[in-house]
Amino acid sequence: MLYREALNKAYDETMAKDENIVTLGEDVGRYGGSYRVTEGLYEKYGEKRVIDTPIAELSIVGNAVGMAIGGLRPVAEIMTANFALLAFDQIINHMSKLRYMSNGKLTLPMVVRFPQGVSRQLAAQHSESYEQMLCAVPGLKVLAASDVNYAYHALKHAIMSDDPFIFIEHELLYNKKGEVDTSSVIDPFKAQIRKEGEDITIISYLKMVDDVMLAVERIEKELDCTCEVIDLCSLNPIDYETLQTSIEKSSRVVMVEEDHKTGGFGAQVVAWIAEELFYALDAPPFRIAGADVPIPYNRHLELLSIPTPDSIAAQIIEWGRKNDV
């Protein structure tokens, strides 16, 4: 099954069970969704539940908030993360705060989904990552789906939960293949160990997890060590426990993320580690992240602006040599 099909399955199964669940967004209905995530839902659930909206992101999220207040369980799709900026007022001033400001009288069971990240030459207005901003907002739960099974389970969880969720996808993952295990549910807030190892803990999420996995063999060979690769999965809350266990074992940590390094999401993870696990570390923590530039159109520059399996391997090897791994 493809990642986008797993998401579609999560929609389908939840919508079949609960008719309060509706979805809304640009081209999600008749068109089937620009990344085909909502394909077939319009035909199956009708235009009242699969709602084609105007190009009005503020309203997409703002209406979803109102639907949730009115008793529905909306799932909003924003076509690309950059456009979500138009809805930041609704996400941050309303979606994340109404429950608290009302002292729990309002409940907002809703999800805002969007793809993000550097795809292929979509340039600066279509290539960004905003988890660093959204994870700084109390009142939102933020999940980032890096594989097929997680995508399915986590989206289902988010749709069925009574809390407001941001659900981040990556544009390059939609056609990723994998199995969905429906025999058991998973805890979407738990980080997943993608590969066990002893000497370096590599933390990542979303598409970068795949790139790290592609880099690991070379790193292990060149540094003669083993790496533990952790997929954070939930970006807020962060499963610090899993990180701690791994870092206490390895004593060394690398954080790999795609977004710009300055102010990036990884800073929060590294800051926490520096504060809480300082005495467990044998080497300085190390962040590998995107360059502090808007994303350029040219493919070569674009690839220079973000981590790649090669650059991840090269940087970790260099860092490892410098720090006696």
Binding site: G62, N63, L72, D89
Partner: protein, 317 residues
């Protein structure tokens, strides 16, 4: 409008004004803080619209005390909220600008100008989807009609033919800036004309407001689609307690206060519904004592506990 209702409206306008004066007093004494936006002068609009829209959901702004009370939320819980007490409608965490009570279908206090309008659209969508008999009313000021959220909402509500009443309180000012400096005309209903039926009324006249809101409510709930109602009104105080109101001349203020809805409606009570001076005095006294009790309640209510800081962010841990 029968006598009973007329008396009720007068009572609530009087109650609302007494509430606002009390709020002002306790703001100056330091029991209330933050931004406090008084509704004094606009009570006809706040009260009569709520009476006409007695059922259905209401989304309002930061200037919502009187509406909240007219909706049926007891004044003491509103006052306790202003006093930041645990017994306030929002547990002391929202304050004057954030009064919420879903049990009264009141999702009051949004403090982002225009920000609640898309929420009301979504709620109207939910009501239509659920086949509800009631519609939704969203209240906002003239200043909100210059923002993108408002326009997106007109367009979506019209496209989806939602049971939504847009009620614009046009008091001609956004803080210190007059509407004619930020919009090309005085009547903001014009902006809605391409999208839906528009109406206007004298917002200083409770009867006119009641009639117009009733009519609009009827239309939206009979499947006519959204309606825009503009009510012309005037606030007597500064924008909030932080505003000295220096941008309005004394002449302008005099003109404004001549339209005071309370004496106006009181006169009608006497002339049209033949209320006696005693009946009216009884209402006024009752209102005064309700507000006094509300203040007492608020003063004596409990402060939130420290742990409230971390409560009610999420439903699930």
């Amino acid at each position: 409008m029968d006598k009973l209702l007329a008396k009720e409206i007068y009572y609530e306008m009087f109650l609302g004004r007494a509430f606002e004066y009390a709020a002002k007093e306790y703001y100056m004494q330091g029991n209330i803080s933050g931004f406090l936006h008084l509704d004094i002068g606009q009570e006809a609009l706040s009260v009569a619209s709520m009476k006409a829209f007695a059922k259905g959901d209401v989304f309002s702004t930061y200037r919502e005390h009187v509406m909240a009370i007219a909706r049926g939320i007891e004044p003491k819980y509103v006052m306790a909220e202003l006093f930041a007490k645990a017994d306030g409608v929002s547990g002391g965490k929202g304050g004057s600008m954030h009064l919420f009570d879903p049990s009264h279908f009141f999702y009051g206090g949004d403090a982002i100008v225009g920000g609640h309008i898309p929420n009301a659209v979504g709620c109207a969508y939910a009501r239509a989807y659920q086949g509800s008999e009631e519609g939704v009313m969203v209240v906002f000021g003239d200043g909100a009609t210059n923002g993108g959220a408002f326009f997106e909402s007109l367009n979506i509500a019209a496209t989806q033919k939602l049971p939504l009443l847009f009620l614009c309180e046009n008091n001609e000012y956004a803080i210190g800036t007059h509407i004619t400096r930020t919009a090309p005309f005085r009547e903001q209903a014009k902006k809605a004309e391409p999208f839906m039926l528009t109406m206007s009324c004298d917002g200083m006249d409770a009867q006119a407001v009641y009639k117009s809101v009733s009519k609009a409510k009827d239309l939206i709930e009979k499947g006519h689609g959204p309606v825009f109602l503009e009510a012309f009104t005037c606030r007597f105080e500064g924008h909030s307690m932080s505003d000295a109101n220096a941008y309005r001349s004394s002449l302008e203020m005099k003109h404004c206060k001549n339209k005071d809805p309370l004496p106006h409606f009181k006169k009608r009570l006497q002339e049209k519904w033949l209320c006696s001076e005693e009946e009216i005095t009884a209402l006024e006294q009752k209102a005064q004592s309700v507000i006094e009790e509300a203040v007492e309640f608020a003063k004596n209510a409990n402060e939130p506990e420290d742990k409230a800081l971390y409560e009610h962010i999420f439903v699930e841990a």
